[in-house]
Symmetry: C2
Subunit: 325 residues, 2 copies
């Protein structure tokens, strides 16, 4: 069984890389930019390059879907780069190709707020894709960078799903009708994404879970089963949103960036401004097996569990990362 | 009579600075950024610093309204900096204060397209100010940087006029009901700006003029008279949008920046992609006297003409540029 987690943003360390190996995780899509400019993103790539040099037996930079097979053959984890915000391309469409060359494979068109490309899910209104957004989607399609709408607003997401010539992704979110958070996705949004061949990764971040940190794994798996019944099992995977070992200063950066001088608590509140504790059944990369086990218990076949735990993401990687010919 | 032009973007040269002196122009708000990043904007400031050093008898860097009086006393033209796009602050609210310190006194919240702050007048829909836009207006109010909505969409402009605690400006545009261009302003937009104490500068750029380059000065002055009757003479001035001596590559940059790989013709067209010829009666800085003369002929008093040609902008500079205490 291929095991792919399509979103993590941990405070990376040898410990975490060893946990990936212990958990048998073949590939992880890691966030390398929340609000970073192009130059700052390149610095983050340099940091990853140092980790790749330091831990060559544990991890390597994944560029293509075939690197997932390579990871399995060599007992390592392939690390794929992505952005949760288009800030790395700044206002420059030419940076899409440059950053794809540097390894970027996913880019969110917005992160909670309005971007130059699309509206974020925290804005009061969503007028859909901008003029630049339409141009950038075309360019992302051309070079093979996946449009990720995890933190975007509904109309922008549906327009992106329709406009994009290649399937798009919601790498980490859950259905709104299971847990009505601003970050979770309404049925029509999920439908638009999957109808166009897209993928959604289920999030294990407590603010996206029914009952938060106390969410029961059985409830999570029942939700997965319902989604697979409604939209087809081929369109779903995991995007855990694991932010392991991060200090709370990082969630402050994620929410506030440099756009306000006030404190924005995002999904948190003044009383609980920090990272929420992860559910007991998902503490780190060693816990994917537990989820796979419980997915079987709610009725998925072994083949379906394999799709959900990574097979679907692998197919999506195969379709999504290569330049258009 | 104080003479202030509240928008020019010429291909600056000794010739043009001498024409400013020949025309008796006391102050000009010059554009120093269309799509430039912070760093690129600083390079443009350095270029201006070299001009200030090279032509100290003709021009100097204007920082405060009192520099208009200094310009008159010393027979020079005060140059005030502004941006037609918020690109110089990138995604960083802290750059508002930094750029005010470097002399920036006007910043448009958007330039034709959606920005991080507000919608531009070429977007299909306008959801109003963004979350960041509301924060940045507050910060601009605090430090004394004027909100300029010349290239913004209607709803964003009206919301900015209402939200801003200090009067805002449309530095260069004309009424939409005189010449229905996307860049010209509907009556309710002008009303929102002036009701909040704001100013509008009439543009002499042919795409904003009835009959374009063939616009008659008498028609222009009649429009000014109608606007003064409707909204009060105290709220208007000149923002010529003079792009003297610019090669057509510059209008391509203004329209296309780095946001698309296609060519956007903006107010032009594939047949006429370049700068349009200016009207015969306004070729350069020596022609303001002609306009002042014809304003008298449509019935304005000498005092009213003085307000329109610079007195109103001077009052606005006095109110707008100093930090809030």
């Amino acid at each position: 069984m291929v095991l792919i987690d399509c979103l993590q943003y941990a405070n990376w360390s040898e410990k975490i890389f060893r946990q990936m190996r212990a958990g048998g995780v073949d590939a992880v899509h890691v966030t390398i930019a929340y609000h970073e400019t192009f130059r700052e993103t390149v610095l983050n790539i340099e940091t990853w390059n140092r980790w790749f040099a330091q831990f060559p037996d544990l991890i390597f930079h994944g560029a293509w879907a075939s690197d997932v097979a390579l990871a399995r053959e060599t007992g390592r984890t392939a690390i794929f780069f992505g952005f949760q915000n288009p800030s790395p391309i700044e206002d420059d469409i030419g940076l899409v190709e440059v950053l794809h060359k540097l390894g970027a494979r996913f880019m969110q068109l917005s992160y909670n707020n309005q971007s130059l490309l699309a509206t974020g899910c925290y804005e009061a209104e969503d007028p859909g894709l901008t003029r630049m957004g339409r141009q950038v989607i075309k360019e992302m399609n051309r070079v093979g960078m996946v449009v990720d709408m995890s933190h975007s607003a509904d109309r922008s997401t549906m327009e992106a799903a329709d406009l994009s010539e290649r399937p798009i992704a919601i790498t980490h979110a859950n259905p709104y009708d299971w847990h009505p958070a601003l970050r979770n996705k309404r049925a029509e949004v999920i439908r638009a994404v999957v109808q166009n061949g897209g993928m959604m990764g289920f999030s294990l971040y407590p603010h996206h879970l029914k009952d938060g940190s106390a969410c029961r794994l059985a409830d999570f798996c029942a939700m997965v089963a319902r989604m697979a019944e409604t939209h087809g099992v081929d369109h779903f995977g995991i995007g855990s949103d694991l932010c392991q070992d991060q200090p709370d200063s990082v969630v402050h950066w994620m929410r506030t960036g440099r756009w306000t001088k006030e404190t924005d608590f995002g999904e948190g509140s003044a009383d609980t401004p920090g990272f929420p504790p992860m559910p007991a059944w998902f503490q780190d990369n060693r816990d994917f097996g537990t989820i796979a086990g419980d997915l079987k218990e709610v009725g998925f076949s072994a083949n379906e569990v394999a799709k959900l735990m990574g097979g679907n993401w692998l197919r999506f990687f195969e379709q999504g990362f290569v330049p258009q010919s």
